[in-house]
Each structure stands twice: as C-alpha cells, then as structure tokens.
C-alpha cells in the first residue's frame, strides 16, 4: 500500500479512526512520519486524538505543521488500530479481550466480525431493545463524554483553573441527566 502523503513509498504505519460511524484510514511511510514529527517509537505524552486530527489536517489543502511531540512513552506500532473516541487500541483489545467504549465496536469491527461468530450462536441481536431514550439524554451523554476527555487533558497539562471550570460543568450536566 502506498503512502497517503508522498504517494511514493510503501506505507508501514496504518492508522484508523471512526467518527460518528464514518471510518477514515491513513497509511503513511516511515520517511513521511519522520518529516511530520511522527516518530513512531517515541511519541511523548502525545494526545492521540489530537494526533489523528493533525495527521488528517496534513492531507487537507490548508496543511498545518505538526510539532514533534516531546517527553512521551507512547509507541505507535505499525498496524495498530485505535478508537478515536476513547483511544483504546487493538493491542489492548487483544491483551484484555475487552473494549474501551461503545464506539470501539465500530473502530475494531474488522477484528470483531472475525471473532464474534465463534463466541455466539447468532450474528445479530434478537430480544429486548432499550426504551426510546428520553429527549436529549443521549446528546447529554455525548457532551459528558467530551467534557471528561477535556478534563483529563487539562489535568495532564496541569491547567487546574480551567479543569475546575470543566469539573463544575460535568457536575451540572450529571444533575441534568438523572
């Protein structure tokens, strides 16, 4: 498979993300990864969601420069699939047999479609279905999820003032949900 950036070399790094059910894949070669600061063996404390975003932006007409991340111990391996919603990856799935969030079912569909028929007597759901969610509750949950991810980032970057504001927002939102 050719690199999506230089369109010349063989791609050795494969990244996949799923946003609202739409799957996007990115295949890049080692040279372009190095040029864009994506040192696959030494990504320091980097937020992978931001990384996805940055890499996709490089493919857009208004290319943004990617700064090489510092002080990190996260390693991206070739062929590693990552859920862009919760950052769970296919290695963790293989190691624990568990998924990180409901969106992981879309991110790792390829792996799951292979394994699920061996686990169950059928391929699709039969039986009880949820009540239709009260108006706005599902949307509120999405907001809550985003705020929690944001809070994580702020705490990691020691931005405690803003983190406190987000924490209060989470508290209010929780009260409005149940």
């Amino acid at each position: 498979m050719q690199c999506n950036i230089c369109n010349k070399n063989e791609a050795t790094i494969h990244i996949q993300e799923v946003i609202n059910g739409a799957k996007k894949s990115l295949h890049i070669c080692q040279g372009c990864a190095d040029n864009k600061g994506l040192n696959v063996s030494g990504l320091n404390g980097v937020n992978l969601a931001e990384l996805f975003k940055s890499v996709h932006n490089t493919l857009a007409p208004n290319q943004l420069s990617i700064k090489k991340p510092q002080d990190t111990n996260i390693t991206i391996q070739p062929d590693l699939l990552i859920c862009s919603s919760c950052l769970w990856d296919s290695e963790k799935l293989k190691k624990t047999g568990r998924l990180g969030c409901s969106e992981c079912y879309k991110a790792f569909l390829g792996i799951l479609e292979y394994s699920i028929p061996n686990l169950h007597r059928g391929f699709s759901h039969v039986g009880k279905k949820p009540n239709s969610a009260p108006h706005g509750k599902n949307e509120a949950m999405v907001d809550l999820f985003r705020l929690q991810m944001k809070l994580d980032k702020l705490v990691q970057s020691e931005n405690y003032e803003e983190a406190a504001l987000i924490r209060d927002k989470i508290k209010d939102l929780k009260l409005s949900i149940v």
Binding site: S102, H120, H125, K174, V178
Partner: protein, 354 residues
C-alpha cells in the same frame, strides 16, 4: 424492612434467602440467578475509565436507581472501602463476582435487604443487574429483572446497537447481555465419575459449567453453576427455555446417578455419606473445601432418607457459615489456617447437634 446497623452485619445476621429448602428438587437445584450487563450510552467502559470517571458513573447509577425506585430497601457497599474479608463475605453470598473483589474506586454494590436483587456498579460493565431466587425458577426471575431494567432505562440511556444489541466491554456478553445460571449440587454425578461427560455435553449445547464462585473457580462442595455461553442471536426467552431444559436433564441425571449408587453400590454410598457426616460431627480441624464437600454429601444423604433429624435448612446454613469470611465474621477474628480450620470444626460440631 428497616436496616438500622452496618449493612455487612445486617446481612450476616440473616440466612441467605436464595438457597432452596422447600422448593422442588431443593437437594439438587440450590438457586437461580440472572444477570443483565448494561452500559450507559456514550461513556467509556470501566476498564478504560479513571477514578473520577468511575465515580461519575456511580453517582449517575445511584441517582437513576433512586428515581426509578427499583430497590425496596437498598444497602450500599463501596468495594474500595471494604476489608478483604468483607469483600470475600459478599462473594461467598454470591452477590459479587471475583473480579469485583479487587475493589477499584467507584465499584459499588447495591443490594436489596432481601438479597433477591442487586446491582454491581463499575464491574466489567457500568451496570450489572442481578436477580436471585431459591431453586430453579429462571422464567420468574427474567420477568422480575426485565421489569426493573426497563424502569432503570427510563432514567439512564443504555449503549445499544441494532446489530450487536446491548454493547458490553467484553464481546462475549453483547446482544442480550444476559447470563442465566442455576447452581446445582451434583455429588452423585461427581462420585460416579460422570461430570466430565456432563461438562462436554453442556458445551455442545452452548452452556458453560463453572465452579462454586463462578468464572474461573473450582467446583468446591460438588456445586456447579450451569449458564448460557452465547448472548447474541437468541432472545432472552429462548436462552432461558434452553437452559431450563438442560437443567431438567441435569437434575434427572443426578437423580439417576444417586439411584444407581443407592441400588447397585448401597454399602459404598452409605459408607461415603456416613463418613462425611462423621467428619463434620467429630473433626477438630477442617478446611473450607473439606467442610463444603462433606456438607454436600450429607445433603444428598438427607435426600436418600439417611438422616431423620437433619434438615436441608441446617445444612444450607452450615454451607454458608463454613466459608472462610462468614466464619471470621462469626468468631469476630481474622484468622488463618490452622487456627481458622479449628474454629470451623468447632462451629460445625456445635451447629450440627443444636
């Protein structure tokens, strides 16, 4: 029922309500359990959540259960705050799983004071609803737990997909998220060396046979839990009907095994049961496993009319009390073997003749 003291002490002071004594085949089918795995829509699963996120989930489920009034008299146990003995105590009452006993922050058990309904919050999934009853009665349990699940769902949206059903952290639970199990005492099949065939046959029928404390545990006390393996592709009713048929067959096989032993090897069986009783009645040091095994054999002896003055209720009480954590609660001391085994033998001797 009003609970006025520490929840653990409250549970300790009453017999477990889900162990059968008067139900049909009470000497074989001990209890039934159904659990439903659910996750709140759009939030990360517990395995991928930090302490704060798990605490948030706990608050939401706490509030959701309160608003939906699905508990009559709710007792709350925060696993993180409990001692290792108290966690094991809840495991021995089959209210929590072994995994839940690691006691992560935000992991909490809500249980009705009658112990017939419970929710584990932040186990492998956000919500694990569980309903319990004595004997084999899965259909009634399903009606009950499904009603409570619907009420909770009015307050909390659940992660669901048209193809994969209810979405769970482990793909083995997707679809219905149901695990229906019956706890069976099978000494007849075990001592006549038929359990391996039974486990193989159960596997062929899409069932799993587990030990006394569920996943990954040993079949102590000749007790096995039979449950469905698959959760996707069949409705809850279909799964339950399939298990009920398998349970009926298991009970029939166990009765046959007991009958064959009683008719063909009467002296062997009488000796085996008599020796088990003698161990319980006269031992001064007894391990948990030895005690539970002997109690199950004596339960079979009651079924075969070998004991006039012993009741299944008494054996059930001992079966619960002889477990390590219950015993330590009883003597109000944290002991290890051999001191604990000495205390166990003392308690059993005392209760057997009371």
């Amino acid at each position: 029922m009003k609970v006025n003291f520490e929840p653990i002490d409250f549970l300790f002071k009453k017999p477990v309500s889900w162990l059968s004594a008067n139900e049909q085949d009470a000497h074989i089918a001990l209890s039934s359990r159904i659990r439903l795995a659910r996750n709140i829509a759009n939030l990360k699963f517990p395995i991928n959540s930090n302490d704060v996120e798990r605490e948030n989930i706990l608050e939401m489920v706490m509030s959701g259960t309160q608003k939906s009034s699905i508990f009559r008299d709710r007792l709350i146990f925060n696993m993180f705050d409990l001692s290792a003995t108290d966690r094991k105590f809840l495991l021995e009452r089959h209210l929590v799983s072994r995994e839940f006993c690691t006691g992560n922050k935000g992991s909490s058990l809500f249980v009705d004071a009658d112990e017939d309904f419970a929710i584990m919050v932040n186990e492998e999934d956000h919500i694990r609803l569980q309903a319990f009853a004595p004997g084999a009665c899965l259909t009634n349990l399903w009606d009950k737990i499904s009603g409570k699940e619907s009420l909770l769902n009015n307050e909390l949206p659940f992660a669901f997909d048209e193809k994969f059903g209810y979405l769970t952290s482990c793909p083995t639970n997707i679809g219905t998220g149901i695990r229906a199990s019956v706890m069976l005492s099978l000494p007849g099949l075990t001592i006549s060396n038929q359990m391996n065939q039974i486990i193989y046959a159960a596997g062929k029928l899409g069932m799993t046979v587990r030990g006394l404390y569920g996943e990954g545990s040993e079949a102590v006390g000749y007790v096995y839990q039979l449950s469905n393996q698959s959760t996707l592709g069949e409705s809850e009713e279909e799964i339950i009907t399939r298990i009920e048929k398998a349970i009926d067959q298991m009970i029939a096989h166990e009765k046959d095994a007991r009958m064959v032993l009683a008719q063909g090897r009467r002296e062997f069986l009488s000796d085996f049961i008599g020796r088990s009783y003698a161990i319980l009645r006269h031992a001064y040091i007894i391990s948990e496993k030895e005690a539970l095994n002997a109690l199950s054999v004596v339960r079979m002896g009651i079924d075969l009319k070998m004991f006039d003055s012993l009741s299944i209720e008494k054996i059930n009480t001992l079966f619960v009390m002889a477990q390590d954590a219950h015993l330590q609660k009883c003597i109000r001391k944290e002991l290890k073997a051999p001191e604990l085994d000495i205390k166990r033998a003392e308690l059993i001797r005392k209760l057997l003749i009371s």
